[in-house]
Amino acid sequence: MGQTDLQSKGTPVDTLNPDSTWDRLGSIAHLLHQAATQVWSDADRATADSPLHDLGLGVYLAHSQASTLLPEDYELPDVDAERLEERTPLQLLTDAEELTRPLPLHQPDLIHGSQLVVDLCDLIREARGLGY
């Protein structure tokens, strides 16, 4: 082993400061909100029993999970809405999943973060299965 210190190199286990954690979650909320809007927009053009309605609701519930992890007085960072609209729902979901990777899930405030990760991976798989 070439390592002499448990924390001396690479990705530390816990270095995120609270601000960047909340901004990260805020960005995730933005991405998931946009993804839900786009999936529902597609669903509204499909049949009433289209599975897209179900996927849209799943994405919106994931958005709700991410929003619930944020402090009550937190204000979401500004984003370029037009740029988000250019991305597909699958890209938005994948972006959101990538943003969850460094989250300090052991912190009491993020106790339901693991569930969010599992739900995002399930939604990505489902979105792929529906042709996104």
Binding site: P12, D49, P51, H53, Y60, L61, V118, C121, E126
Partner: protein, 507 residues
């Protein structure tokens, strides 16, 4: 010391995440944090890509991965003497995995002997490397410092998080595998006997493995959600095979929507309500179709179109409330939980894991009669909910994001849905408000079309409700009187909603 010319990880970064190739290295130069990060990464990729063909290899690899995780867990410094409550989930998980290992040893029936899963093997090796690293240098950790305590807690969470994701992936693979078996049997003309619990695809020999892997997943999840004590007492996880699940979910949804709508409710909550109603309509169509296929409901040329129309009207209304709901808006937790359970309960009967099942497949599922009764009652009840939701559109103080409302106002006027202004072209929302991303009052065209969409939802749900009521007279309902929380949907026919009337006359 002989010179070893094999590469180190740092020299072959690109191959580090290649699941098909575990690079042969002389040494692993990753830190503990990086190793656990890699396990997390691989578990996520596994969960995203997993399919039924992976089930056997995953099952064979799972016990070894848990053993490696348990060893890493045990190697972490700072353990208290005697039994530590904090360690019990890991101990339970290891015991569960050990019994799986024992069952697999020497087994000839599925999954039998065979290859293991490269991704899980890579995760296992990473956990083994991490444990070796901790054993070498763990004594140097200054346990008296709070930072060190936090790092150790983070490491435990990361270990359990990786196991949770992986256990979930194994379960997904098992479900897919069961579905593939059922489909294969059907294609070859054999009769597939669907399972009576878990999911219909928990067919032999998948069902028993699903039980065991679900127990593992629940144990890991309970640690991460801080519910291990309740899980031990059998309180944290309700059985998914409960045939009254959809009844309970819809009854709770009914209660939570009414409770929420009593108060001043933000548009994000109304968006959730209307979209969930749209889902209920769509899923009801699927169940009615399957019930007709199964012969437990008379085919009708009125019921399905009426429900479809109700679904469209809920979706249209939802898209308008969606304009008013900003990203990051909080949803009332009981409402979100109730919506999530409605979605999960429908999916249990209408979906093949993540895709919609065919009516023929759903027709064979146990619990379909109860589900049809539950869903028709929900359709019946939706007309009253539409009236309550419509009242929310009558609020003159409704506000929403300037950009979305500007776009909606112009589109509605241009498409003729809203009354065109007498003064010609009108700027409904000031560019300054759009630029500053302000929340503004609803422009008149948006208010008008929101009310119109609400009225349309009342009309459509009234028709669907009447059709559902009529149909239930011809359909012997499954017994539901033991369902807790079920409201007065079983009221005498005389008290049910009468012939639909135009919304304008009712409001």
């Amino acid at each position: 010391m002989a010179t070893d010319l094999r590469l180190a990880y740092a020299d072959i970064d690109q191959e580090l995440f290649d699941v098909d190739q575990i690079p042969m290295t002389t040494r692993d130069v990753r830190s503990i944090g990086e190793m656990l990060f890699d396990v997390d990464y691989l578990a996520r990729q596994l969960l995203i890509d997993v399919d039924g063909d992976d089930a056997g290899t995953l099952l064979r690899s799972w016990p070894t991965m848990v053993a490696a995780a348990e060893d890493l867990w045990a190697s972490l410094p700072g353990r208290r003497p005697g039994v530590d409550e904090r360690d019990r989930p890991m101990t339970s998980l290891a015991a569960q995995a050990a019994t799986i290992e024992a069952s697999l040893t020497g087994r000839t029936a599925w999954p039998g002997q065979g290859p293991t899963n490269p991704r899980l093997d890579q995760m296992t090796q990473t956990l083994v490397n991490a444990a070796a690293l901790v054993r070498l240098y763990g004594a140097e950790i200054p346990l008296e410092q709070s930072d060190a305590h936090r790092d150790l807690e983070a490491a435990r969470t990361r270990i359990m998080h990786g196991l949770y994701l992986t256990a979930h992936a194994v379960n997904v693979a098992l479900h897919h595998n069961g579905r593939d078996r059922v489909n294969d049997a059907r294609e070859s003309g054999r009769r597939a006997r669907l399972a009576q619990h878990h999911s219909p695809y928990a067919v032999a020999p998948i069902g028993a493995w699903l039980d065991r892997m679900t127990a593992c997943e629940n144990t890991a999840h309970s640690y991460l959600s801080d519910q291990f004590t309740q899980a031990l007492a059998g309180e944290a996880v309700r059985p998914v095979e409960d045939p009254s699940r959809l009844f309970q979910a819809l009854a709770n949804w009914d209660i939570q929507t009414h409770r929420a709508l009593v108060r001043q409710l933000e548009p994000s909550n109304i968006l959730l309500i209307t979209r969930t109603q749209s889902l209920i309509a769509g899923a009801s169509m699927v169940l009615v179709d399957a019930a007709a296929t199964a012969g437990i409901l008379e085919p009708s040329d009125r019921l399905v179109p009426a429900i479809a129309n109700a679904g469209y009207s809920w979706s249209n209304l939802a898209s308008r409330w969606g304009d008013l709901a900003p990203p990051g808006a909080r949803i009332r937790e009981p409402l979100a939980r109730a919506a999530a359970e409605v979605r999960a309960a429908y999916r249990q009967i209408t979906h093949d894991t993540t895709t919609l099942a065919s009516p023929e497949v759903i027709a064979e599922r146990p619990g379909l009669p109860q589900a049809v009764t539950a869903t028709l009652r929900a359709v019946e009840a939706s007309s009253e909910l539409a009236v309550v939701v419509a009242e929310r559109a009558d609020n003159p103080n409704l506000i929403g994001p300037a950009r979305a409302l500007s776009r909606r106002a112009h589109n509605d006027v241009e498409s003729g849905l809203a009354t065109p202004p007498a003064e010609g072209d009108v700027v409904w929302v000031s560019p300054a408000d759009i630029l500053a991303k302000r929340l503004v009052l609803l422009p008149p065209p948006v208010s008008e079309t929101l009310r119109a969409a609400s009225d349309a939802a009342i009309d459509a749900t009234n028709s669907a409700s009447a059709a559902a009521t009529l149909h239930q007279r011809h359909h012997k309902p499954a017994r539901t009187d033991a369902v807790p929380g079920s409201r007065s949907r079983a009221a005498p026919e005389g008290r049910r909603p009468p012939i639909p009337t135009p919304a304008a006359a009712r409001r």
